[in-house]
Amino acid sequence: MTTIQTSMPPTTAHADTRSLWERVRVNRNWLALWFMLPAAAFLLLFLAYPLGLGVWMSFTDLRIGRGGNFIGFENYEWLWSDSIFWLSVFNTLLYTLIASAIKFAIGLYLALLLNRHMPFKAMIRAVVLIPFIVPTVLSAIAFWWIYDAQFSIVSWSLIKLGLISQNINFLGDSDWARASVIFANIWRGVPFVAITLLAGLQTVSPSLYEAATLDGATNWQRFRYITYPLLTPIIAVVMTFSVLFTFTDFQLVWALTRGGPVNATHLMATLSYQRGILSGRLGEGAAIATAMIPFLLAAIAISWFGMQRRKWQQGTDND
């Protein structure tokens, strides 16, 4: 602060007489605010505004091409008694739960595998990322062919092997359709989990494993007592993201099944799109989308409080 005072013109008799602008200009907190402004403006314009608009729309009977009136909770009351909406909630939860759990299991397994010393390590790691790099719609189309009722390569292979006698109706049967979209989502989501967990694994010092080995730990005990607890912060973050992405998934399901057969694979996101955009009932679509928010907040809260509990990460109470 001394530099500021010496740089002031000598004619200034009292420091207090500096204008408000003068003081704001040199204040470090204000400076920080100036720097944050562009980012804040961006977030407000492209995140907060659409979100707010969406929530507001859910309280109106807005339709495409027609201004809406405020109708309070009517959209929600309507949805409350709509069995298709509840089916989509069930589908979304099922989809998220099963896909996330399997993504976690496979991702962790792959990460542990890739963390070992092996030939062509860098190349194998790159290969693992491929499902993640391919655009979602492209991979959905590939899966569409794999699941095709007539030309499915899976059905063909199984028939040639003599395991089944006729084609599996992957996308035409409710249970098969659910399993199929979940499988496609897992295929796409595993690389993200695996690579992120691998990054977490690499931050664990090898000497901890050596110390544990000398302490008498078996492979399983090293995982249970060293790897897993040290990985929990990363697991919490990656699984939060994975759950959020899966819960809000749209592209894959829309490209594969459009919610069918008989709404068996309709997720909240696809139902919202169908009602809001295709049917033009923007208000109702917005209400379905808004109904996702509590679920997402719950997922974030769980991981947040999970992370809060790990005292060993915070070295603050160093009395």
Binding site: A211, L214, R310, K311, W312
Partner: protein, 353 residues
């Protein structure tokens, strides 16, 4: 407690041999320091002893048992790592009790043994802290606590003090030595710091480029280094080496390349004219009227002693004096080596003559 026998141990990584047949006998209860410059293979040897590296050939025995193919956890050893390797998600007590927990010791037993170790190391007030909440010296003590809780046959230390500041290092040095005197557990300690080696060891093993250069008590190594490497490695500031030719007619001396005469107490017979390296420690030089004429380059007083860096021609020579001399850079003075404390090495092989 147990003795350790390392016999003709070799280690290769791929086709590259880093240990070329190392033999080190370690008596029961001894404090042995493996010392050498980085890359000499000392840490590799320690890790082989711990079972963290395979033994390419040769044998390592702990007690009467050859442990080449024994799992690390079956070897009954405990190791203190350079970075301490404390489990960050466990409290001090959990860190120390982890090995006991894995061996399914009872809860009361674990608590009791952790408490006992904590008392020895003054860790009792810190038992509920996490490693992050400890200072470097405290972490070091926890790492030692984790080792002594197990009451192992052998302690292994891998450069345990190199992450500490200079003052703490001296304090911990004393603490480790006291701990050893109290527990009398066989200890193998790796360091690159010859002062640590000199101050702590019962027996020092000097290693260099994958071989053992010399094994002996600290003062033996200081007084009678087997070769030029050990002579230069042990002692600080390092021994001065001056090359010349041995003249053994009458009172033997070494004539340097620029004609100075360096006194020698006794020379090996029939070695007149032999090219040698003359070694003299900085503390074994006196300022005198005769002797080698040198030009003072730098004077470094430390209070307790004064170190003078001087030059003979292009060669640097260091002398250390306990008493204070009025010497200025640029002065020409005479330094006289104490003949009975001079060392002679073969110029080609570096072996002691």
């Amino acid at each position: 407690m147990a003795s350790v026998q390392i016999s003709d141990v070799r280690k290769s990584f791929g086709g590259f041999e880093v240990l070329h047949g190392v033999t080190v006998p370690i008596e029961d209860g001894a404090f042995v320091v493996l010392v050498g410059p980085s890359g000499c293979g000392k840490s590799t040897l320690l890790r082989m002893l711990a079972g963290l590296e395979n033994i390419t050939s040769g044998t390592i025995s702990i007690g009467d048992r050859v442990v080449n193919n024994v799992q690390p956890k079956e070897r009954d050893i405990a190791m203190v790592f350079q970075n301490y390797a404390l489990y960050p998600h466990m409290t001090v007590a959990q860190n120390m009790g982890f090995s006991l927990k894995l061996r399914k010791a009872g809860h009361a037993d674990i608590t009791e043994r952790v408490r006992k170790a904590a008392d020895i190391l003054d860790l009792a007030p810190l038992l509920d802290r996490y490693p992050r909440q400890l200072s470097g010296g405290q972490r070091q003590r926890v790492a030692m606590g984790r080792a002594i809780v197990r009451d192992p046959q052998v302690f292994l230390f891998d450069e345990p003090l190199s992450n500490l500041d200079a003052k703490l290092r001296v304090a911990m040095r004393t603490e480790i030595k006291e701990l050893h005197q109290r527990l009398k557990t066989t200890t193998v300690y790796v360091t690159h710091d010859q002062i640590e080696a000199m101050t702590m060891a019962d027996k020092i093993v000097v290693m260099h480029d994958g071989i053992v250069e010399q094994i002996g008590a600290p003062l033996d190594l200081y007084d009678r280094p087997d070769n030029q490497f050990v002579a230069g490695f042990i002692g600080s500031p390092a021994m001065n080496f001056i090359s010349g030719h041995l003249k053994s007619g009458g009172q033997p001396y070494v004539e340097t390349d620029n004609g100075s005469r360096l006194p020698v107490a006794n020379a090996p017979s029939a070695s007149d004219g032999r090219p040698v390296t003359y070694g003299i420690r900085p503390e074994h030089l006196d300022i005198a009227d005769d002797g080698i004429e040198v030009e003072v380059a730098v004077v470094e007083p430390t209070g307790s002693e004064t170190q003078i860096v001087a030059r003979i021609g292009t060669q640097e020579i260091i002398a250390v004096f306990r008493d204070r001399h009025e010497v200025e850079p640029g002065d020409r003075i005479h330094l006289r080596p104490r003949a009975n404390l001079a060392h002679l090495f073969d110029k080609d092989t570096g072996r002691r003559l």
